[in-house]
Amino acid sequence: MSKVNVSVTLCNIKLNNPTISASGILGTTRALLKRVAENGAGAVTIKSISREPREGHKNPTVITFEAGMLNAVGYSNPGVDKAAREFTNLQDVGVPVIASVVGTHKDDFVRVIEGLSVTEFSAIEIPLSCPHTPGFGLLAGQGTPQATFDITSEVRKVTGLPIFIKLSPNISEICTVAKAAEDAGANAITAVNSMGPGMIINIEAQKPILSFQVGGVTGDALRPIAVRCIYDLYKAIKIPVIGVGGVSTGRHAIEMMMAGASAVGIGTGVYYRGIDVFKKVCEEMIQWMQENSIDDINKIVGAAHD
């Protein structure tokens, strides 16, 4: 078998392969980040951190259905001060670590970034797109072009690290929002966050299952929507796109990259295929590349465009 290259460079960050663990997936402790890295992720993302500690929504917070998962975790996290203590010595993890920072007000983002030992991180991701946490993301109006521009600009002032703005697949004007982020100095767009929200009712209980009633839809159900968003973004903006949404196989990852993603986040895939989904996806990508005589993964980025 011929040797193929799957390493990518994203905003000057070198990744051994294009898979990244998505925020909120196994990103709670340094030990877990390391485990994910050992299981083949090219980079890892921490669970989103807010200024104050948050318990999040009550259980049930994460459930599965035929076509994927529904979650409303509600940004449970220990708050920036304790998170800063957890996320030190990140070189131990073995791969680049991306911080994920959320806030209700513009200042919150800045405070969290200043509070984290940011020199440990390779980039900062800002989700402006959660569909199920009051005070944050879509429920706080952060998904508009103006709010995106404002928050990104504010964050830009306080960090030299690459900024990834994470967007929602719900917004029809996703390209406009992405452009606002680009104009404000974002270095990449992460597309997409979970979709919806959706609701699943237990018919015996006659009640929505999630304690927050509704939650974001992820997994297979999301993939065609994510691919379309990435395809559109690739045409609309110049900064790279990190594709996320329903990737659990090498074929899925290649599909996203052909749509225009420079790297690929994986979340629900951990449920579908286990913690070594990253390794499996990479192996499948490599095999496909060998069978199809493609020697460098970078060559397929955007290949589905004319």
Binding site: L26, T29, N59, V62, N77, G79, Y271
Partner: protein, 251 residues
């Protein structure tokens, strides 16, 4: 959802709720129990009888308080089973502290010759007295059985009898001591850990213990796995994700 079809009072603070459901359950695994509009929490299956399964619940906080108020005919949600169970071998010993006995009950049902050590704060809290005849009991005050902890009693027994395995479930400081003791006597140990859980199937990261997900990589861990888990016996993680020190006094 399943209908509670029978309730048994095991002790003043522990009730077993029986329901019908086909689940292929290995001792040591768990299910998530949902009470609509309230919360969802992990519990083990403590009885497997023909069509009936049972969950033994210790009244502890808000959730288990409401659980205890459930009547026959009420319904609860069950998903699972989740996690990795015990690796069962004959000529072994189980060590249960308090409600930890619930996880071990199906181990005992499966292993005919197992030695059973149960520790309880006092005589009224002893579980499954009629169910398991040959238990070696210990209470803090010595009112029933051995006076002292399960670890003390295990220490006595392990000197005389060579076990293939020791299975333990209970407060983590107890588990830690059981593992240390077993190492000393070169006996393999498997213990079932308790961490706050959300998804139950390995994606959210809430139940981390030194990079192991208690919900899928555990809840049962072997001595050799535990050797690599620095947090074992020392640190647990709260609902917010904060690392907190485990109170060593609760054993």
């Amino acid at each position: 959802m399943v209908k509670i079809c029978d309730i048994r009072e095991e002790s003043p603070n522990v009730k077993t709720f029986f329901f019908e459901r086909k689940i292929h359950f290995n001792p040591g695994q768990f299910v998530m129990v949902w009470i609509p509009l309230l919360d969802e929490k992990p519990f083990t299956i403590s009885y497997i009888q023909e069509n009936l399964l049972g969950i033994s619940v210790l009244k502890k906080g808000p959730f288990t308080r409401v659980f205890h108020s459930k009547k026959a005919g009420d319904r609860i949600g069950i998903r699972g089973p989740y996690g990795k169970g015990f690796n069962l071998q004959i000529n072994s010993c189980v060590v249960g502290g308090g409600i930890g006995m619930a996880s071990l009950a199906t181990v005992i049902d499966t292993l005919p010759d197992v030695t059973i050590i149960q520790g309880a704060r006092n005589s009224s809290e002893i579980l499954y007295q009629k169910r398991f005849r040959n238990m070696r009991l210990c209470t803090e005050d010595g009112a029933v059985g051995f006076k002292g902890t399960t670890v003390d009693l295990l220490g006595e027994i392990i000197k005389k009898q060579h076990f293939r395995k020791v299975y333990a479930c209970g407060p983590e400081p107890m588990l830690y001591k059981v593992v240390e003791l077993c190492k000393k006597y070169d006996v393999d140990c498997e213990v079932s850990l308790d961490r706050y859980m959300k998804c139950g199937f390995g994606v959210c990261g809430q139940c981390d213990c030194s990079g192991q997900r208690v919900c899928v990589d555990g809840p049962v861990f072997t001595t050799s796995e535990l050797n690599k888990m620095e947090d074992f016996g020392k640190i647990t993680i709260t609902k917010t994700g904060e690392r907190v020190v485990i109170d060593k006094r609760i054993i």
